[in-house]
């Protein structure tokens, strides 16, 4: 396709070629670079112990990081309006993958859950990562048009037509299709099982629904239901009960801290021994086969140990800035679709960061949530950067401030 000259472009097209948001881009790059460095630092003892080259994990992560950044730029150049149409396909594909992962996936032997699926060229990845994006994209695309959406009416002779009209007016009926989609995805993911992924999908979807203006009582009701469900799971099921005891006292795991509390204890040792300034980059001791998953879910503990409270705080502040800038882009977005898309992605990122750090520091009982940009995992990083690309794409169409 021959590149069109600027004057030949429509207003729309000109807008789509606006400048991308530099602060957001810088934050993404900084976090990615720090994340890849931390993967190197935290993974080499594990790699050596597995008989691999010390740089094995680092090289892989750096490669994916580079590809991911390139992909992010490509996506940022795409006019995000095209995502409206794509969203149905992304959601559809992710649901198909979530179905396929059950018979064809893998992961049961390593983590006890069928979460990964291997595709040609792409390699192994978690369909749930795609599902998160798919849900957000689809919800944003559809909810951005909710004011123009035709309200189905029952024939007036229908006995329930009055009730239906009343419910419709009160907004009761509106979110039901979304709930059905969320429910389907959630059920599929719980079959893997993938509790933490389910939570993130629900959070992503809910944030878009919330921002789009779904009546608040749904959230109060949903929040109450979630709280009740959580309370039930915590108190009535043994699965959560053990997690809860370990949360209260990691040493009380029946094996004196060598059983299920071990990872958490090691994480606390790492964080605690970091002190104010840390033991120095690369000098973590806990990564020497003490802290399991030190390059993955628990990488933030190594950050705390090596860089201290100061380093950890700076990383969190970077995340906060990223999130704030994300919402800034959302409220300045050119249209509702862009706004909702960015709100979904940003909220998802924020919640993921919060949950990961809260687990690592034992603020909340453990769930297996990885830290965006940091945790080892090539496709996850790529998908994360692709999401960032979408945000940047939205940022390009922010109208420039009027020059008087």
């Amino acid at each position: 396709m021959v590149k069109q000259r600027r004057r030949d472009l429509t207003v729309m097209q000109q807008l789509a070629r606006g400048p991308i948001d530099i602060p957001y881009l810088m934050l993404v790059i900084i976090l990615t670079v720090i994340g890849v460095i931390m993967v190197f630092s935290s993974s080499y003892p594990t790699a050596m112990n597995e008989g691999l080259s010390p740089t094995n994990y680092f090289v892989k992560q750096a490669t994916f990081g580079a590809i991911g950044l390139a992909a992010m730029f490509v996506i940022a150049r795409i006019n995000y309006q095209t995502f409206r149409g794509l969203s149905v396909f992304v959601l559809g594909i992710s649901i198909i993958l979530l179905v396929l992962v059950l018979p064809f996936g893998y992961g049961r032997s390593t983590v006890g859950a069928q979460r990964w699926i291997s595709l040609p060229f792409i390699g192994g990845f978690q369909p749930s990562e795609i599902a998160k994006v798919g849900v957000i994209m689809y919800f944003a695309a559809r909810l951005s048009k909710r004011n123009t959406e035709k309200h189905r009416r029952l024939p007036s002779r229908h006995p329930l037509s009055g009730l239906h009209a009343w419910l419709d007016e009160k907004g009761v009926l509106e979110p039901i299709p979304y709930f059905i989609i969320l429910g389907l995805v959630a059920v599929l993911m719980l079959m893997e099982p993938h509790m933490s992924g389910t939570i993130l999908v629900l959070v992503g979807g809910a944030s878009v629904l919330f921002a789009a203006g779904i009546r608040l009582y749904w959230f109060f009701g949903g929040g109450a239901a979630a709280a009740a469900g959580l309370f039930f799971i915590m108190t009535q099921t043994s699965y959560m009960a053990t997690r809860l005891t370990i949360w209260k006292d990691p040493w009380n795991d029946g094996e004196n801290g060598l059983g299920k509390g071990f990872q958490l204890i090691q994480s606390l040792y790492a964080i605690g021994s970091g002190g104010l300034l840390g033991v120095g980059l690369g000098k973590s001791r806990q990564k020497f086969l003490y802290l399991p998953e030190s390059e993955n879910d628990y990488i933030f503990a190594i950050v705390c140990e090596e860089l201290g409270f100061l380093g950890a705080a700076i990383v969190i502040v970077l995340f906060i800035l990223l999130v704030l800038r994300g919402y800034w882009i959302a409220v300045h977005a050119r249209d509702r679709f862009g706004a909702l898309l960015v709100v979904g992605i940003t909220t998802l990122t924020a919640v993921q960061v919060f949950l990961n750090i809260a687990v690592v520091t034992n603020l909340i009982p453990s769930t297996g949530i990885s830290l965006p940009f940091f945790s080892y995992g090539g496709t996850a990083l790529m998908i994360q950067l692709a999401e960032m690309g979408m945000v940047l794409s939205v940022s390009r169409q922010i109208p420039a401030p009027k020059q008087e």
């Binding site: 309006q81 964080i271 605690g272 002190g275 020497f288 409270f309 409220v331 709100v343 520091t361």
Partner: protein, 810 residues
């Protein structure tokens, strides 16, 4: 076109202020919640973990991340004053088996054999390391039970320690066995440290020992007292390890050097110490002493302890082993019947044990008592009534205060009444010493005279001197066991009555430690200086740098130089013909004071002698005491060996022998005496006149045999050393007899009688002990047993003492 159409459709999304506003507000709400609020608890939690609880987590983390291995420091050596090693540490080995490793070794052997059989190569040139082979060899080398080793070899175990701290000889043999039979994978020699006491029991109660069962920490004596100096600083190697326990040698390595312990140099002299110990041990046997003995030797001028012996004693290399004959007898007695008298037996029965159990408990208790008794340093842990030896201090105080002079006379009727006490206080001589001057009163150890001296001093002054001589507090010696108060059991100043003063004047009814007594006595004779006694003269580090050198410390001047000199003169008379005459040594000027202490136990006497020499310039002061010599029958005053139970006849006698040995060893010059040994000149070929003249120059006389002018032979031969004043036999034309003669028995004879008897067979008498004082002094020991054949002209040394009541020396 399609794209454009889609674009147009998109543009058709209608601007909707209300919808936009909802999104705007709700996005801001999400921004507030997830962009700010949610992260606050994370900061709080991180602050709590990393700042507030940092130390707690760091400590736990470091504990799991590091391996802390210790490097043992070498314990310091203890030397005597001449550099003789009294205690040292050496590396020895524990023998450890690893049954699991040995199985691998056995497997390797079998593989070798198989391989050799397959390829036709040669078989291993050493025997198959079967369990039986290993067990039987190790049992032989280490003197262990073969079946036990075999049983442990069959265990599924990584480590089996089969013998601890083996001698070098055994560990070398094990090493050789390992090398010869290729067993380095399975039998291990683990280095550890062992304390050696090369002189065995020498100064056992002073040096003390380390307890190998408790990390070689000093348990008794100087080993315990100077634990901090001797033990050194254990070193540490801190290495990082990973979660699997593998050492990360290139990271976080910290090395804290082990600091070897410091060496102690003592004032004790191993030679003098061994003199003391043999004198103590001889006396215990000779006098049938039942409750042990002690002997202290001190340099009176510095307070340095030269020797410190106790009985019963033990081998420091095995402190639990009981080897003292008296203690062994005690245990034997308990086992064979006396157990019913043991407290433990009665207690066990009362607690409902069977007779057998009670018996076992009684025997165990007896062994325990015996061990405690042999570890006990009597001369500092225990107190005793000083008895008459204390009169030296009373004498010094009285002379210093001017209440008596040498010209004063005291009358002793055999007893004296003291105001405030109902019955007369008796003197040891019941018929009384009659009139005596001061020196005689001291030499007689006359109680009434000392009661009068005490009265002249007065209670107040007397008590002042008790204090000044150090009897009311500790000597502050650097030896374990002195009680903080000093240990003495004595009246308080307020309750010190006239009667107390009277008995205290002759050393009774109060208790002091032997160390307090010898320290005070030193002050009496050294010019009046009360010195602080000490045993450790120097502490030096392992490189020989002196860290601390003990300088003699004068506590105070108690009496003047002049008073001290007068005391020395008077006390010399005690040995020179007084109650202490048995301590006399030919050629040396010895002063001293005898003592016999009553105890609360009936029939138990502690006989002691306080001696010093040379009397005019004391170099050593000795306190020797035997606790409870066994009377031949209850109430008797002699032992079954005929020894009179008294300070002079027992302690004085042995102290004389001891002082002679010490003075000879120290090289103190003997004063001239007519009976000193002289060399016999060659008189063969001379005329009788010439020979008489030549011999006279050497303080010798001659007796001729045969007739003629020229001397053809002589006995003893040229160059022999015989006592001065002896007769040389010269032969005039007669052959010198070359046969040997039988030594006659001269025991029980006076010096004159012995000399005559020996001269009959051409033998010479060398006298030692109390020789010149009256008919009571008879020989009790001769250097060559009667009946032995010796050359004519040999010298026989004979020891004399006064074994009768007049030499009792109370």
């Amino acid at each position: 076109m399609a794209q454009r159409n889609r674009g147009r459709r998109i543009i058709r999304q209608k601007p909707d202020r209300k919808a936009n506003r909802v999104i705007f507000i709700r996005s801001l709400i999400l921004m507030g919640v997830f962009g700010c609020l949610a992260f606050l608890p994370l900061f709080v939690k991180l602050w709590q973990l990393q700042i507030t609880d940092h130390d707690y987590y760091q400590e736990l983390a470091v504990k799991q991340q590091t391996r802390d291995s210790t490097v043992t420091a070498n314990r310091g050596t203890i030397y005597d004053s001449n550099g003789t090693v009294l205690a040292m540490s050496a590396t020895v080995y524990n023998i450890q088996l690893s049954p699991n490793d040995l199985r691998e070794t056995q497997e390797t052997y079998r593989e070798k054999v198989e391989k050799a059989q397959e390829s036709g190569g040669s078989l291993p040139d050493y025997p198959e390391p079967t369990n039986e082979f290993i067990a039987s060899n190790l049992a032989a080398i280490l003197d262990l039970d073969e079946a036990d080793i075999l049983r442990r070899l069959e265990k599924d175990s990584q480590y089996e320690m089969i013998k601890w701290r083996v001698d070098t000889e055994e560990s070398d043999a094990v090493q050789e066995f390992i090398t010869e039979n290729h067993l380095s994978h399975g039998i291990y020699l683990m280095p550890t440290s062992k304390r050696y006491y090369p002189k065995n029991s020498l100064a056992a109660q002073v040096i003390g020992w380390v307890n190998p069962n408790m990390d070689n920490v000093g348990a008794y004596g100087l080993e315990a007292q100077f634990e901090d100096e001797l033990s050194g600083q254990t070193g540490r190697i801190v290495t990082a390890k990973d979660g699997n326990g593998t050492e990360l040698l290139y990271r976080f390595e910290d090395y804290y050097d082990a600091m070897d312990g410091n060496d102690l140099t003592l004032t004790l002299d191993a030679t003098i110490q061994s003199f003391c110990e043999s004198v103590v041990q001889e006396g215990v046997e000779q006098f049938e002493v039942q409750n042990g003995a002690f002997c202290l030797v001190m340099d009176p001028n510095t307070g340095a302890i030269l020797a410190w012996a106790n009985s019963p004693t033990y081998d420091l290399n095995d402190p639990w082993e009981i080897s003292d004959p008296v203690l062994l007898q005690y245990i034997e007695d308990v086992k064979s019947g006396a157990y019913t008298e043991e407290e433990a037996y009665q207690k066990a029965l009362a607690e409902g044990c069977t007779q057998e159990e009670a018996y076992d408990k009684a025997v165990d208790a007896a062994v325990g008592n015996a061990q405690l008794s042999q570890w006990r340093n009597k001369a500092i842990n225990d107190t005793y009534e000083p008895g008459s030896t204390f009169k030296s201090m009373v004498l010094a105080a009285a002379l210093e205060e001017g209440v008596v002079t040498e010209s004063d006379h005291f009358y002793c009727s055999g007893s004296v009444m003291v105001e405030g006490y109902g019955s007369p206080i008796k003197c040891s001589n019941r018929s009384g010493h009659k009139d005596q001057d001061l020196a005689t009163a001291v030499a007689n150890s006359c109680n009434p005279a000392f009661i009068e001296i005490g009265q002249r001093l007065g209670a107040e002054k007397f008590y002042d001197y008790l204090e000044d001589f150090g009897f009311l507090g500790p000597t502050n010696i650097d030896v374990q066991g002195e009680s903080a108060s000093g240990g003495q059991i004595i009246w308080s100043r307020e309750s010190f009555t006239n009667v107390d003063l009277a008995v205290a004047s002759f050393g009774q009814r109060f208790n002091v430690t032997p160390l307090q007594l010898i320290t005070a006595a030193s002050a009496v004779i050294n010019g009046g200086h009360l010195m602080q006694p000490y045993v450790v003269s120097q502490i030096s580090d392992s490189d020989g740098n002196v860290l601390q050198h003990t300088e003699p410390t004068e506590v105070r001047q108690v009496v003047s130089e002049e008073t001290s000199a007068r005391c020395r003169a008077i006390l010399e008379k005690v040995v020179d013909g007084g109650t202490g005459k048995n301590a006399a040594v030919e050629g040396y000027r010895i002063g001293g004071k005898t003592g016999s202490s009553e105890t609360t136990e009936t029939g138990r006497t502690i006989v002691s002698f306080l001696g010093f020499a040379p009397a005019d310039d004391p170099q050593v002061v000795v306190l020797l005491a035997y606790d409870n010599p066994k009377p031949v029958s209850p109430g008797a005053n002699v032992t079954s060996g005929g020894w009179y139970i008294g300070g002079g006849s027992m302690a004085g006698l042995k102290a004389g022998e001891l002082l002679e040995d010490i003075l000879d060893y120290l090289g103190v010059e003997k004063s001239y005496s007519a009976t000193d040994d002289v060399l016999v000149p060659d008189v063969t070929g001379m005329t009788v006149e010439q020979a008489t003249e030549a011999l006279k120059q050497n303080n010798l006389t001659l007796r001729t045999v045969g007739e003629g002018d020229t001397i053809t032979g002589q006995i003893p031969a040229n160059g022999a050393s015989i006592p001065g004043g002896s007769q040389v036999v010269v032969y005039l034309g007669v052959d010198v007899p070359t046969d040997q003669v039988q030594v006659p028995n001269v025991i029980g004879l006076t010096a004159e009688q012995a000399q005559a008897k020996l001269a009959e067979v051409d033998l010479y008498l060398r006298v030692s002990g109390a020789s010149q004082y009256g008919d009571n002094v008879v020989s009790y020991e001769q250097s060559v047993t009667a009946g032995t054949l010796v050359d004519r002209g040999s010298t026989i040394e004979v020891r004399f003492n006064d074994a009768t009541a007049s030499g009792e020396g109370l």
